[in-house]
Structures are given as structure tokens and as C-alpha cells.
Symmetry: C2
Subunit: 429 residues, 2 copies
Amino acid sequence: MLVVGGGFGGLTATRALSRAPAEVTLVDRGNHHLFQPLLYQVATGVLSEGEIAPPLRGVLHKQANARVLLAEVTGIDLEARTASAIGSDGAPHVLPYDTLVVAAGAGGSYFGHDEWEPFAPGLKNLGDALRVRARILGAFERADGSGDPGERTASLTFVIVGAGPTGVEVTGQISELARHALRPDYRSVDTASARIVLVEAGDTVLAGFPEGLQRRAAHDLDQMGVEIRLSSTATNIDPDGVDITDADGAKERIACRTVIWAAGVQASPLARTLGEAAGAEVDRAGRIAVQADCTLPGHPEVFAIGDMVSLDHLPGVAQPAIQEGHYVAKVIRARLGGDDPPPRFKYRDKGTMAVIGRNRAVVDAFGVKLGGRPALLAWAVIHIAYLVGWGNRFVTLLRWFMALAFRSRGERAFAVARPDRAAAVDDRA
Amino acid sequence: MLVVGGGFGGLTATRALSRAPAEVTLVDRGNHHLFQPLLYQVATGVLSEGEIAPPLRGVLHKQANARVLLAEVTGIDLEARTASAIGSDGAPHVLPYDTLVVAAGAGGSYFGHDEWEPFAPGLKNLGDALRVRARILGAFERADGSGDPGERTASLTFVIVGAGPTGVEVTGQISELARHALRPDYRSVDTASARIVLVEAGDTVLAGFPEGLQRRAAHDLDQMGVEIRLSSTATNIDPDGVDITDADGAKERIACRTVIWAAGVQASPLARTLGEAAGAEVDRAGRIAVQADCTLPGHPEVFAIGDMVSLDHLPGVAQPAIQEGHYVAKVIRARLGGDDPPPRFKYRDKGTMAVIGRNRAVVDAFGVKLGGRPALLAWAVIHIAYLVGWGNRFVTLLRWFMALAFRSRGERAFAVARPDRAAAVDDRA
């Protein structure tokens, strides 16, 4: 049995099969499970990489029927029932399967403008988070060190594209850094004067949240000095700034040094591969339409779950992937035991939540809508519960306490690239 | 007053001038103070970057007379009393000084073989540590994922060049990872079979330590399954391995995927700049010979300290830099107050220490020589004391406890470079 991807969907499925009479191989191109909902905290210096990214092998080392392979799956042959992959040594692998669970997730999409990527990094993996950290913290350094007023203003201008949970949360953290956490550390500039612009193509922040919480989030962001531009899109991004175009076609040029891309998502290319091979629909975001039991049409042995599938209009967050992972494990266990498989996948909405700032959060869960401190507390309890590993939970709680009590950020160091070192993180591994 | 470099020397001098009637500008090309003695623990997954690299601004934010500038000093004009620097925005700066303290440290030297650097990263800064982490942990993944026995053996072979404290400590950690910490996580390979080779040009490990401790360290390493090659040098390094040549000229080829360079050091180029301008001697390692009071000949207003100077044959470790930092601050304070400056710099040997493995360490301090657990304890107490920040001390202690008690490594995640992302860490910042 082969599981592709060690994110929420793939890891949940693998763990839920721990007592199944089957050998499970989990393939991922990274060595860790990424707790993506907290990635923005790595990018803003609250947490370290390891705290949100436990090694997959460590997570699974007690599960006797699970193996981990570090490799990138590049193709799937539904007839031969094999997946082809490139190992971390560059060697090709052919991985046979009887049952396949593809949970390869989604990456960022620049809507056909991949040339923007160097100027507007996304927040999808650890490398992104370290890049964004260096950008954000580096921008304050540039502002402080520059004698040119134009450069100072541009360095203290931050544009975040996309007002979903990630966009809103990273915006809130940048505001917190600028208005409070970093302020005492700078002498030449007042970091609190930073301009923070949140650009959203839709007509509300946190689309998909209940209206009351959207209003509250917008109010909170406004209170934190964030300019919200709704019904607006980034129509050009270059090293010197962003062009924003609103619904009436009016253009504004914002000179800035830091743009963070939290807008488009594009499913893993494996979704299209599977869709074409099995004759299943693939939507604009590259997601494959799976059947109600998460299998491919005509291929009951192949499941696809998580951000790479379109099913019941579920949002691309952790809960659907986790629940789908549990569901397919249940189906597989039933098949192995000769039992009737459970009926179609049914999503249980456990709610949505976002942290906007210190003591500002919005939570809509179990029929309860919260804001402010109670929301922050609920958010913290739930995120700690889903973090993997007691050590990480403890250290993360400690970091949060320090961030709240002392406004301190424990992970402000960033590696400075030297002319003689093209890449600070290795590409051979 | 200008201080170049936020390492042990420069940061100590800056802090020791906190009550001096002078404005101090501290210039560094990084945003953090690096606690280099623990860098190898970042490289081996014990600690995160932030824990050993507090931001300079954070460290100094209560010191009203200190400012921080993120810039790389590229030249010093002793006549005009200015330093030239490139700011983080790429703009040139001219920084005037009345008093100058240059503490620019040292980097790695490949003895004229800079082409080895891509295959044998050093351990000098955070970028290095993240690269080495990805190499070491990636090598175990390659071994596990590869079907080729030659590739497996090469991936499980680690060569460390240089048996000073950094080389010995990183060697010990690799042994600990291979023989214990990672072993339960791998199914296809026995990581304990890893071959670990420590190559040293001199005739002993830990040159400069008392003989008894050298013997103990060599014994401990041997017990941990490390092959020690004394009087041997690396004469070629390429992507497939290392050539080792011993004192008799006998060559051995070791096929391996991981080489760590802990051998040569080369002082900052600023040492040569100053040496040529002031007519002071510069030794083979590029270090400038300062006078007994750490000033340049003919320039009592210019001090140079730390790893970039040769003075009294002091080793390139933290203590001389720290003590020189205190000393020059004392001289500067005396001058400002019109008092007699203290007599020449005198080094107080507080001892040397190294951790070789779990419960294996050697300490020679205050006339006491220790090994084993007592040495580990003494080492831990002293290193915690010198770490900057209570939060970092606490989290570091916690990580050490988890490493000792559970053999767990909290920071095993590494960013995997994607073909479309040349550098995971940004070069614009």
C-alpha cells in the first residue's frame, strides 16, 4: 500500500492504518510533516522550523507496518499499478501498489505570472517561511540603514496579496512586529509608521467565514492600522513594488520591498495526471474531482484526498484532509477485513478560526462564534492539540507565552546569503 | 565610536561601553549575535537557529548609547577615520569614527582549494549550519532510499576534516545520530553501520588541550566507532568522496556523500586591509599582529580584537575575544574619563572544553581536568551561562534534556530545495 504525501491527509491515513494487516509506504519529497497552519509563525519569528515540522520517520517510528521514503513522485501508471518517483539520490524508483492514496497537496499559484515569484514569495513550505522571514525582518533593517527617504518608505511598506486565513494571519503578525515587538529595537526609524496593505480579489476578508466574524476580522485589522483593499488584484509585481487594480479598473502603484503571496493555490500536478488517466474532471485550480468515496472513477484501488481534490466544495484547509485521511483508512480497513465499507465521505464541519493579533482572533466552531481573548484561547488549545509531539507542544506554548507576555520573538535570526554562497540551504540533500 | 562585528569580541565591547559617555554604532552583516560554540548543535538538529542567534538589536535595545547597523564593512580609511560599508539595501555607507574597534572574526579557509567548498561545507554561520543539517540528515535518507549498495555505503560515510573542538563535537553528534538517535527511524538500513572518519593534519585531536584530555577524547571517539586519521590531510574533495593522504604520502580514497570542513580558518579580509594600512604584520591565517593593548601601531584610536588578530598565540575561541572586548572597553572608558589606561591585555585562561557524546566530554578549567558526566555538566553550566537571553537559556536546557533523556532531536526538519526555487533562503534581505 502506497501513500503519497506526508501532510495532514497522507499522515492521518498512514497512522489510521497502523493496525491494518498491510504494509504502508509513505512517500514525501520532504523529511517532515508540515503543520502548515502555523507556518506563518515561522515566517514571523515566533516559532522555529522543527516546532512545526516533526520528521515523518520520528512520527511513524513506532508504527511497525509503516515505512518512509524520501522521494518525489512524478507519475502514476494506473494500469501497471505503479508510481514512479525520483529518490533523494536522484535515482528513479518504481513503486508498485495494490492500494494507492494520493495526498500530494497544493502549492502556490501566481495565476500565470510565475515571474512574480522572486518578488512575492508564498507561504507553502519551510523554505518559503525562511525566505519570508528574511524578507520581513530584512525590510526593517533596510529602512533603518538607508539614508534615502524613498527607500525607507518602500522598505516600511508591506503588501500581502490574499485575505484568506494565511494572508490575514501573516498581516496581523507583521502589524504586531512593526507596531510593537520590533519598535523598541530601532533608533533611526519608527517601525510603527509601517504601511501594511492587504489586497483581496473578493469582496471580504476570510471568505467562507460567517459574516459577523468577517466584519470583526476587518475591524480588528483596521484597528491594527492595516489598509484593506477589497475587490482588488495585483496586476504587476516587480522588485520595486506592486500595481493594484480595483474593481473599477483604477490602478495604484505601491512602492514596496516586501510582497507576500497568499492568494492562489494550485493542486499538485499529480491531480491532473490522475484526472487525465482516469477520465476525471480537473478544475481551474488543478484539483481532481473524486467520487464520493474519494476514489477515482473506475479505480476503486486509488484514493485521492486533501487539497488536491475537489469534493463537496470543501475549503483547502487541514480538517477536510484529516477527515478524508481517516475515512479512506476506514474504507481500506473494511476492504481488508471483508466488511462493508462505510458510506460516502461526509465532512463534519469543526469550524474555522484565525488569529489576527495579540488578543485578537476569530473562531467559529461547534456553533459558537468567538472573538478577542476567548477566541485566541480556543485557537491555541486546538492548535496545540493538533501539533505532533509533546516536546513541540511544550516549546510552542512557551514561545506563545513569551510572545504574548513580553512581545518577544525567539526566532529572529536569518541567514544572510553571501556572494560566494549561492544557496544557504543545500540542494544536494 | 564604531564597532565592526557583533560576535563575542564586538558585542562584549559594545555592552561594556554602556555607561561610557559615547555613542556606539555596532555594524554587522548579519542581524544576530552568533553563539558559535553551539553552531554544531544547530547543524545536528539539537537546537534551532534562534536559540543560538539572538538579534543584535534585541540584545542591545535597552542600551541607550548603542545603535545597530546591518551592513558589511568593506574598507577602512585610517587617515580619514572612516569605514566604508555596503548597507543591506546595497547602498554604500561612509561611517566616520573617533574610535574604532574591529572585531570582524574569521571564516573558513580551504587552503587554496575553494573549489572544495560546495562538497565540504564549513560551520561558520547559520547558513552553513542549515546546509550541514540538510547534508547529514539527507545522507541517511539517501542511504535508506537507494537500491544501490555502493550508494548506500557512500551515503553512510561521513568524513570530518579537522579535529579541533568544532570537528570533534560535530563528529560526536554524527556518531550519536547514527548509532542511537536516528536508528529506530530507519527500516531499510542500519544507520549504526555508518562509517565516520575524522581527519586531522596534526598528531593529536584537540590540539591545545592538555595531553590527558586529548587521550581521553581520542579514546571516547574510538569507543563511539569513529576512525581517527592523524597526520593526514584531505588532498582532494569532489562530489563522490575524499582523498586522504597520510604523513608517509600514502593515499586513500574514501567514497562518501558528506564531508564537513572544520579545518582551516582565515581571518576577515579587514585584518589584511588594516595590516597593510598601518604597517602591521599579517600571518599566514590572515591575522593582524596588534600591539599589547590591541591597538594598531601608530593608531591608538583603532583596536582590533578576536579571531582576526594574532596576539600572545591565543586560540581562536570565544574567551580571548570576550576578554579582549572587555579590555578595549576599559581602555576606551579610561581615555574618555582622562584616567590612566589599564596595562597591556592579559589573558586569563578559563580553560577549554569539548563535548564528545552523550555523557562524554572533556573539560580543563580552573586547574581541574574532568571527563565523562561531570565534564558534561560543567560544560552545560558554562555554555548556558554565556548564552544570551533567559528564554534561549530555558529552551536550550529543555532541548538538551530531551536529547539526553529521550535521544530526541527537536530540529530535524530541513528545507528541500525545489528546481524552481534556486535558494531557499533569500539573498535580497
